[in-house]
């Protein structure tokens, strides 16, 4: 465990999460969530939890992004003001 690398990754994750809830373009929000999951997987690997990282990368960054885009295709892309 490298504390400085962990700190940088965690700051990035918090920044991405806040960006994902403030952005008005829903497609961008989905892509930000994808990046969030990927960085989370990096943190799991860095904590030596490789199985959890594998699951996070496959489910969080892969499948759930595809599900969210599919769900978005049934609504509009822009959030109403």
């Amino acid at each position: 465990m490298i504390p400085s690398l962990d700190l940088v990754l965690l700051f990035l994750i918090v920044a991405i999460a806040i960006a994902a809830i403030t952005v008005r373009d829903l497609l961008s929000a989905i892509m930000l969530l994808c990046a969030y999951s990927f960085l989370m997987a990096v943190i799991w690997v860095e904590m030596h939890a490789v199985d959890v990282a594998f699951t996070e990368a496959a489910v969080g960054a892969g499948a759930s992004t595809a599900f969210l885009i599919a769900a978005l295709s049934r609504t509009t892309r822009w959030e109403k003001k």
């Binding site: 465990m1 504390p3 962990d6 700190l7 965690l10 700051f11 918090v14 920044a15 806040i18 403030t22 904590m47 030596h48 199985d51």
Partner: protein
């Protein structure tokens, strides 16, 4: 919008400071000897001076047995033998009941005794200790996560699979199209 950005910046700084504050207390990952990974303290303290020789010889002290009984351990959980690990540390072996011997090994290390100054502290080995140390021999699977999830915690994983199955059925009930599919435009 400006308020949201400012509060977001504040939360980032706050969480960072919180993480630095908490991170100092986190034990090293994978350390099998840190307290929550290894032992449970039983709050029994014995006199070291008179019992140390007995423990080194492998005799179970009467005081230990009676105090364990007072806590509420069953008869087949009382120590039968003491093994010395190193100077000042011992472990007590039990033999589990007839019914459990199908699954558990015949002899099982159960209590951990440690000398602390003039006192002896008694600990119970945590269950995870046995999984980590014996799992590879008991299941012939090298990956710890897999043998815990699929073997020791098989019921959990069965339930998890059922939850996923239920999610699929629920989405199918809510969103499944009922009209006929149009003809495919070109072959794949």
């Amino acid at each position: 919008m400006k308020l949201i950005s400012l509060s977001a910046l504040f939360f980032v700084i706050f969480l960072g400071v919180l993480f630095i504050y908490v991170a100092e207390d986190i034990p090293d990952f994978g350390d099998p000897y840190s307290a929550p990974n290894g032992y449970v303290n039983l709050d029994i303290s014995l006199d070291a001076a008179e019992l140390e020789d007995n423990l080194n010889k492998g005799v179970v002290p009467e005081v230990l047995t009676s105090k364990l009984k007072a806590i509420g351990f069953r008869d087949d959980e009382l120590p039968l033998r003491i093994d010395k690990i190193k100077e000042g540390e011992w472990e007590a072996i039990i033999i589990p009941g007839e019914k459990e011997q199908d699954f558990y090994p015949k002899e099982q290390k159960y209590y951990f005794i440690k000398k602390d100054g003039a006192k002896l502290d008694v600990y119970r080995y945590a269950l995870i200790k046995r999984y980590v140390e014996e799992g590879h021999h008991e299941t012939e699977v090298p990956n710890m996560v897999t043998y815990i999830l699929a073997d020791y915690r098989g019921y959990d994983t069965l339930g998890e699979t059922t939850v996923i199955f239920t999610a699929g059925v629920a989405v199918m009930l809510l969103l499944r199209r009922r009209e006929k599919r149009p003809e495919a435009s070109s072959k794949l």
